[in-house]
Structure formats: C-alpha cells, structure tokens
C-alpha cells in the first residue's frame, strides 16, 4: 500500500512537470466544447438561413404557363433562364434543378387534362434535395389550388377529394429539436475520458521503458501489482481534471453563450445534470487507464504507444455516435455494456429524462467489473519477463 503511494506521488510530480501530459489533458478538454460551439454557429446559421432564402429556379418554357410562373414568383422563387441542355447541366452539377414546362402544357391545362411539367434533378446529390423538394411542393400546391377552384366552379366542395388527411402532431419542443447537438456530447465525453489520462499512462509505462528506467525500477523491492496500481492511479487526477474542464466548457457553451442567436432556440444544460454526468463518467476512467496500460506493455516507445492509444476511443465511441441518430432505450441489459451504458445514461440526463437508480448501479458495477479484469490482465503482463524488452 505504502509503495503504491510512493509510485503514485512520484508519477504525479513527474508528470506535472511534463508539458506533454499537461497539454494532452487540457487540449482535449478544451477542444470538445470548442468544437460543439463551432457546430452551433455554423450549423445554426445554415439551418435558419435556408428557409428564408429565395429559391433560384431555372425554368424552360416559361411562356407556356404564365399563371404558374406568377404563382412561383409570389412564393419567393426567382426564376432564371434554363440552360440549353437542361439534363446535361444537371448531370454536370452546373445547376441543382431545372423546371421544364412543355409546349402542350397550355393546351392540356385549358382542356382539363393533367398538364405535366418536368423537374430535372439528380437525387444522388444530397445537397440538391431540399431545393428539389421545395420546388415539387410549390408545384403540387399550385395544382391543388387550381383543382379546388375547378371543383368549386362545378358546385362541388373541394374537400370531398380528400378522403383521408394526415394531421401531424409534432411533440418535439424547440429544446429537443436542438438536441442534435446535445446528442453528440456522450461521444465527446468518452473521447475526453479516454484521452485525458492517456499521456500520463503512456509516459509512465512505454515512456519508462523508452528511457531505460523500467529495469532499474523493477529491481527495487516492490511487487509488480503495486507498480501497476501506482501508475494507473497517477493518471486519474489528470483524467478527472480533463472531464471537469470539459464539462465546465460545455456548461459555459450551453449556459453563457447566446445559442438562441444562432439556432433560434436557447439550449441550456442544468449544472446538476453536468454533476451527475461527471459521476457517471468516473468508472470509465479506470477502464480507459487499464486498457492503455495493457497496450503500453507491448509497445517500445512513447510514440508507438500513442499511435495505438489515440485510436482506442473510436471503438467504444461508435455506439455513442449511433445514439445521435437513433435513440436507444435504457434497459438493464444495455447497462451491462461498459462505455455504452454511460453514453445512454448521459444522453438520458441531457434530455431531462428520469434515470433509474438500478440502471446507474448496474452500469457502475459492470464497468468497474470489466476494469478489474483488465487491471488483472495488466498485472499479469507486468509479471512476465518480457516486460523488460517490450514486444516479443
């Protein structure tokens, strides 16, 4: 026990003097809230800006349908001259869409036949889809208006043609609409947890071997498990600081920054929620540290270990990324999966949903259990002779 404290103290002092450890910790911690802020500013502009903007619509055969043209112009569409070969122009991406009004439009229209118009678009280009949908919607709307007028002229109630109507009741609050951004938080937090203590772990393991100080250290009367625990524990203050700084950053972004100005709604995250998230994150630090220690046992140098460790958070973070698109129910079973359970819980906390105490307990126990197994594996690896030489 005493020797664990000796190793812990030494590594703490040593790493506090290391710029690499300090900036590794603070860099990741500040990077993520900054990224969220950037997304809010850029995407918020984008989302708000699109709807108000006039639709630029190249039209061929404008003279064939003066009434339709007038309707479009009244609905914030700026008509442009169509390129000579509309299909080719769309295919080459010169224009997003082209509306083609054929010569027989007027004849069909006046005789009561369905008058066809063509929208030439490339649906494989995602960026063009909103404009295509908007043009389609306007033309359909125009068609329905004319149809209703025709029925009225014949003394029929236009609503008779709508046998069934769908009424959409959207329960999304402005707050939950902007949750797209909050949904990214669990992912970023896992990144922060994994990378916060990584610099210290790598320095005290792979770095120790690279500096040729591992062999003399192990000659001292100290058990290998004491070495492993001392070094692992030394990474925790750094990892904790990282999470605290990152959460503080998020608190500042969501509570102090005028998000409303950019997104149209204010998003806020309660400080109490952030505190709860902090405690949910704690068991993950041990898990991350143990995994990194294992990796460091078979790498020769700081740089080599860093290469592996930097990729590590991507795997557990993948489910969190999915979470951003499809919400998953928090069941006891999902709580058994370390890293994933924390992301589900963080997501629930951010959405303001109630979190079941049982789920939290299962999540903590499962994560600590897996961490313990990983620590035992790390100790086993440190007990082997090969630890002196690195990869064999």
């Amino acid at each position: 026990m005493k020797r664990i404290a000796i190793v812990f103290t030494k590594e703490l002092i040593d790493n506090l003097r290391d710029d690499r450890s300090i900036w590794g910790t603070l860099g990741y911690a500040l990077f993520t809230p900054a990224l969220i802020l950037l997304l809010i500013v850029v995407m918020g502009r984008f989302m708000r800006g699109e709807a108000d903007k006039a639709l630029m619509l190249p039209v061929a055969g404008r003279e064939n349908a003066p009434a339709l043209v007038l309707f479009l112009e009244q609905n914030n569409v700026i008509l442009q001259d169509a390129p000579i070969n509309p299909q080719e122009a769309v295919q080459n991406g010169e224009v997003d869409i082209v509306l083609v009004i054929p010569d027989d439009y007027g004849e069909n229209f006046s005789t009561g036949q369905p008058a066809a118009v063509q929208i030439i678009a490339d649906n494989s280009r995602t960026a063009a889809i909103p404009n295509t949908l908007r043009a389609q919607g306007l033309i359909t709307q125009y068609g329905q208006q004319i149809g209703a007028l025709r029925l009225l002229a014949r003394g029929i109630n236009p609503s008779i043609v709508y046998a069934v109507v769908v009424e959409e009741v959207n329960v999304a609050t402005p707050q939950s609409q902007s949750l797209v951004f909050l949904n990214m938080l669990p992912y970023f937090l896992v990144m922060v947890v994994f990378l916060g203590g990584a610099a210290v772990i790598i320095d005290t393991t792979a770095g120790e071997r690279e500096r040729n100080s591992l062999e003399p250290l192990l000659i001292n009367p100290i058990k290998r498990w004491e070495v492993v625990l001392g070094k692992l524990l030394a990474s925790l203050p750094f990892a904790t600081t990282t999470i605290l700084v990152a959460l503080g950053g998020f608190a500042a972004v969501f509570n102090l920054f005028p998000i409303e100005h950019f997104m149209g709604v204010q998003v806020s995250v309660d400080i109490g929620v952030l505190v709860a998230i902090f405690f949910v994150c704690l068991p993950m630090m041990l898990l991350a540290g143990a995994l990194q220690m294992i990796i460091a046992t078979f790498t020769h140098t700081y740089k080599e270990a860093q290469n592996y460790v930097n990729w590590l958070p991507l795997f557990p973070a993948l489910p969190g990324l999915l979470l951003a698109f499809m919400p998953v129910k928090a069941t006891v079973q999902t709580m058994l999966i370390p890293l994933y359970s924390q992301q589900v819980l963080i997501n629930q906390l951010l959405r303001g949903e109630s979190v079941t105490p049982l789920n939290v307990i299962v999540s903590i126990i499962a994560t600590l259990g897996v961490s313990l197994i990983l620590i035992l594996i790390a100790i086993r690896l440190y007990n082997r002779e090969e630890i002196l030489f690195g990869k064999k």
Partner: protein, 244 residues
C-alpha cells in the same frame, strides 16, 4: 554473499546460459569477464530477480532469487544494463524515489542521500534536473540510487561503459571503497585491463558457460602465459568481443 549454481536460460531458440556457476564472497570484488553476448547480463538479470532461470539456482545471503524475490531485492543494489534516470526529476529526487521504495524515511533517507552525493562527488549537480546530464553524471545518479539502502551485495553491469577516463577512474575508486567496506561486489566487463586491475576473483564467461575462474595469479599459472590479457584470450579461445 552470492552463490550461483549451474544456471541455464533460453530465450526461444537462443540458449543464453548453459551452466554458469560461481561464488562471490563478501569483501571481495568478483569480476565477470567475457565477450559481448557471452551471458553476463543474463546472469546478472537472474541475480536481480528480473529473469527466472530455466534450471539451476542462485542464492543471495541465503535467499533464493526465484522464490524469495523481495528479500533478495532488499539485499542487493544493482546498476543494470539499462540505467535510465527520470529527466524531469532532480538527481536528489531520483535517489530519494528509490530510497522510499526501499522503505527509508525522512531524516535517515536525507542523511543517506547527502552521504552518497559526497561519496560520488556530485554536489554541484544534486539539485539540477537530470535532463541534459552527461553520461558520467547520469551514471553517478544511477549508482547513488542503487546504493541508497546501503546494500551488502552490489551488482554492476558494465559500470564503466561509455565513461571518459576521469569518470572511469572515479568509478573504480568507488568499487574499491565498496569492497573495502566489506561488501560483496560483482561487476561485469568486456575490458580485460579493467578486470585485471580491480578484481580479487575473476570469472570468465564465454558462450553461456564459465570457462575459467580464479585469482589473477591462478589464471596465469594454469595457462602458463606471461600476462593476464594473453591468459584471458587463451581461455576464451578468441579475442573477439573483448577490449584491452
């Protein structure tokens, strides 16, 4: 006191030790001489409990290196082949870390550190971070931390490797002082002149085996050569991997 009995050790295909046996009594300097790759470092690593022999055993002050590792580690001070120090800690902090791991505490530990700093003549560098130290300065730190708990058995792997003439002389003085203080000193070297000048007892290792053993006079006598260097070459069978 160290007793080594018929050590064998393989690393995969490589048969590093094929039967190494020798005794190193207290108050004497025992030199392990052999070309590079002869098995000196592997033998020492078994003595400081980092490697386990396949067969054979080694005993330090009556404690088996395989089963009583902690007791052995408490009784040895070692300067291994890898002798890295912590660059962000000062020389004194480096020594203090090892002292604490050996269970030394405050006043006693600090007093011991002062003694070692004097012994190794490192007052001017004691409170500087070791980053940027010369090879000789780093070696002094490594020796000081190995001796911080005043061990009875001192194991030094090629202690003069990479040192300039002045540092080498200082190093040899330290080795003599340790022996005069009654300690069991075992050091390895591939430099014939160094072993000849320092050792009370010489163990010659080649290809994982002890090929000759004895005092300088005994070795001269058995080989019938006029000088020690010729005797060494005669016993090993080649000059390869040795230095005069």
């Amino acid at each position: 006191m160290i007793q080594v009995n018929n050590l064998h050790k393989s690393f995969g295909e490589i048969h590093a030790l094929r039967g190494v046996t020798f005794n190193a009594p207290n108050g004497q300097i025992t030199g392990l001489l052999g070309p590079n790759g002869a098995g000196k470092t592997t033998t020492l690593r078994i003595l400081y409990t980092l490697l386990t022999p396949d067969t054979g055993n080694a005993v330090v002050d009556g404690f088996d290196v395989r089963t009583q590792t902690l007791a052995v580690q408490q009784r040895i001070g070692a300067l291994p082949d890898a002798r890295g120090v912590y660059p962000r800690l000062t020389a004194r902090e480096n020594i203090r870390y090892y002292g604490r791991l050996h269970g030394l505490t405050n006043a006693m530990l600090e007093q011991r550190i002062v003694t070692l700093i004097e012994l190794l003549d490192m007052e001017s560098i004691a409170d500087r971070r070791t980053d940027g130290f010369s090879t000789g300065e780093r070696l002094k730190v490594a020796i000081a931390r190995a001796l911080v708990h005043d061990p009875i058995n001192v194991l030094l792997d090629e202690p003069t490797n990479g040192l300039d003439v002045m540092s080498t002389r200082a190093m040899r003085d330290v080795i003599r002082q340790l022996s005069a203080a009654g300690k069991c000193v075992v050091f390895s070297s591939h430099i014939m002149q160094e072993v000849a000048a320092l050792c009370d007892h010489i163990v010659i290792i080649a290809k994982g085996k002890v090929v000759g053993e004895g005092t300088a006079e005994e070795l001269l006598h058995t080989t019938g050569k006029a000088n020690l260097e010729d005797a060494f070459v005669d016993i090993i069978g080649s000059e390869e991997g040795l230095e005069r």
